[in-house]
Amino acid sequence: MSCWETVADYAFRSLGYGERLLPRADFTLCQQVTLIGSGMIWNIYFGVLALLSGFVLATALAMGKAARSRWLRKPAEWTIFVFRGSPLFIQFFFAYFLFLSLKSSVPALDALTSAWLGAAVVLFLNTAAYSGEIFFGALRSVPRGEVEAADAYGLTGWSRFRRVIWPTMLRLAWPAYTNEAIFLFHATTLVFISGFPAARQQGDALYYASYFADKTFNPFVPYPILAGYFILLTLAVIGVMGLINRRLNRHLPAERTARSGGRFKVLFR
């Protein structure tokens, strides 16, 4: 079987298209590269979905944590504390079993027990908490002068937030937020090894890599392939976030712009 046929059979195997059975013997390099690459679809799906939806909640959480009212502040603080203070791995397990018992009482929540929705919900809340903390830190370092200038222009409430505070907050938070995005993509590999079942062997890149490692008892091929894919993904994330960073900083003189990923600090689960 040529490599092109393998690609045709397995390129979308993780979504359930193509060959039904996974390869069982005589594993070729081409099969491993194709299937692990196919699994990356799930990693990208979870990462992008959680990042986009989490961004909105993160802004709300940061605003909530900075709010004067106890009723806004406490829930935001607790959400951030619970999701940042406990391992994502345990959160996945807990959420999966929680969804299982919810399902038995409310059948309408059936979809939550499958990875595409249930795991996405957990990742969404988790990244929202981590990014919320980053945004909160940035919110507190918005220069007072900018807020005073906004006041002087007569901007209040929503328009002051939308036009002055929020853009500055994003600009300050962006390098740290880029890290969070990278680690979020890395965290998506936990989905299928923590409770959530891979239906009909449709799993993510790590799922297929460990499948090959188990079958061939040779970790030296599948894991480096996985690592290669993730390094490419990481570079892509840095590239996209860098473009957004350029846009956020486009009004500043060149040497003042923050270089994203310049100082790469550890900030993950």
Binding site: S86, I90, F135, G137, P143, R263
Partner: protein, 302 residues
């Protein structure tokens, strides 16, 4: 445990619960928390040592060593840590067995990789198939410690590399002006001063390390996640004296609370430590910069 527990099916309420929570398997579950703490206690200093080595290598003026140090930091940080855990446990195991095979059975003529099998001579098995159960468990645990240290060592190397560069240049220059060699200046001036710069990063790393401990489960160690899944699953009267439904949710809720408490406690202790270390030091890390999100202090407009 208690005398009343002899007849579990007649019990109810709190008595039942107290008997249920003191079964032998539950004690194994509580013991697994000790395993987690032991892993942390061993891994943290070893990872710090690896990190120190990595940072020194990355700073080296001898180019290949510097590439090695920087490569170590970059590769481990660019790839999901779970992939490393899964990879290293098999790779280390096979590596050790391969070395022992070469040393102990020089006249073994068959290839080690036969198709999908990895075959070494019986003498080279690690641990030997005749050894006791606890040897197997201890070996698995040490593989886990080594893997954790290797991964977290790269993160620590990154933190320490940054900290060494944060020590004011003037300090090292002064040391050189006093006639110290590069090595002396490193040992007497740079290293003692770098810790305060490294502490915020290392604190963060400690939190990450705590939150990585459930991954022990993936390395085949019988840890708290293993027991929570085992004990929480539905139990039928045929196989146990304490039948119950699917309680895995509650067991994992308990683990969640345990980790929340543990990270909160660490946070408080580290905060105290930082206050102590930065007393009287005019660093940004000692005053306001630390409370902000990482990477924040130097990117904002003045």
């Amino acid at each position: 445990m208690f005398a009343v527990c002899a007849t579990p099916d007649t019990l109810s309420g709190l008595t039942w619960l107290s008997c249920y929570l003191t079964t032998g398997k539950h004690f194994a579950f509580y013991g697994a928390f000790g395993t987690v703490l032991l892993l942390l206690a061993v891994t943290a200093p070893v990872a710090l040592a690896f990190g120190f080595g990595g940072a020194v290598a990355a700073r080296s003026r001898f180019a290949p060593l510097s590439w090695f140090g920087k490569g170590y930091i970059a590769v481990v940080r660019g790839v999901p840590d779970i992939a490393f855990f899964l990879f290293f446990v098999i790779a280390l195991d096979q590596g050790i067995e391969w070395l022992r095979h070469k040393a102990k059975c020089p006249d073994w003529d068959q290839p080690i990789r036969q198709g999908n099998d990895f075959l070494v001579c019986p003498d080279a098995k690690m641990p030997l198939s005749t050894s006791a159960q606890w040897v197997h468990e201890a070996y698995g645990f040490w593989l886990a410690v080594f893997t954790f240290s290797l991964v977290f060592g790269a993160f620590a190397a990154n933190v320490l590399f940054g900290a060494m560069r944060s020590v004011p240049r003037g300090q090292v220059e002064t040391a050189e002006a006093y006639g110290m060699t590069r090595r002396q200046a490193f040992r007497r001036v740079l290293v003692p001063q770098m810790w305060v710069y490294a502490l915020p990063g290392l604190s963060n790393l400690w939190m990450v390390l705590i939150k990585a401990t459930p991954l022990l489960f993936l390395l085949g160690v019988e840890d708290i996640v293993y027991w929570a899944r085992d004990l929480g699953g539905t139990k039928t009267p045929q196989f146990t004296d304490y039948p119950h439904g699917d309680w895995r949710m509650w067991y994992f809720l308990f683990l969640l609370v345990f980790y929340l408490g543990f990270t909160r406690l660490s946070e408080i202790v580290l905060e105290r430590l930082m206050q102590r270390l930065t007393r009287g030091q005019a660093t940004l890390g000692g005053t306001s910069g630390r409370d902000e999100a990482p990477g924040m202090t130097q990117v904002g407009p003045p």
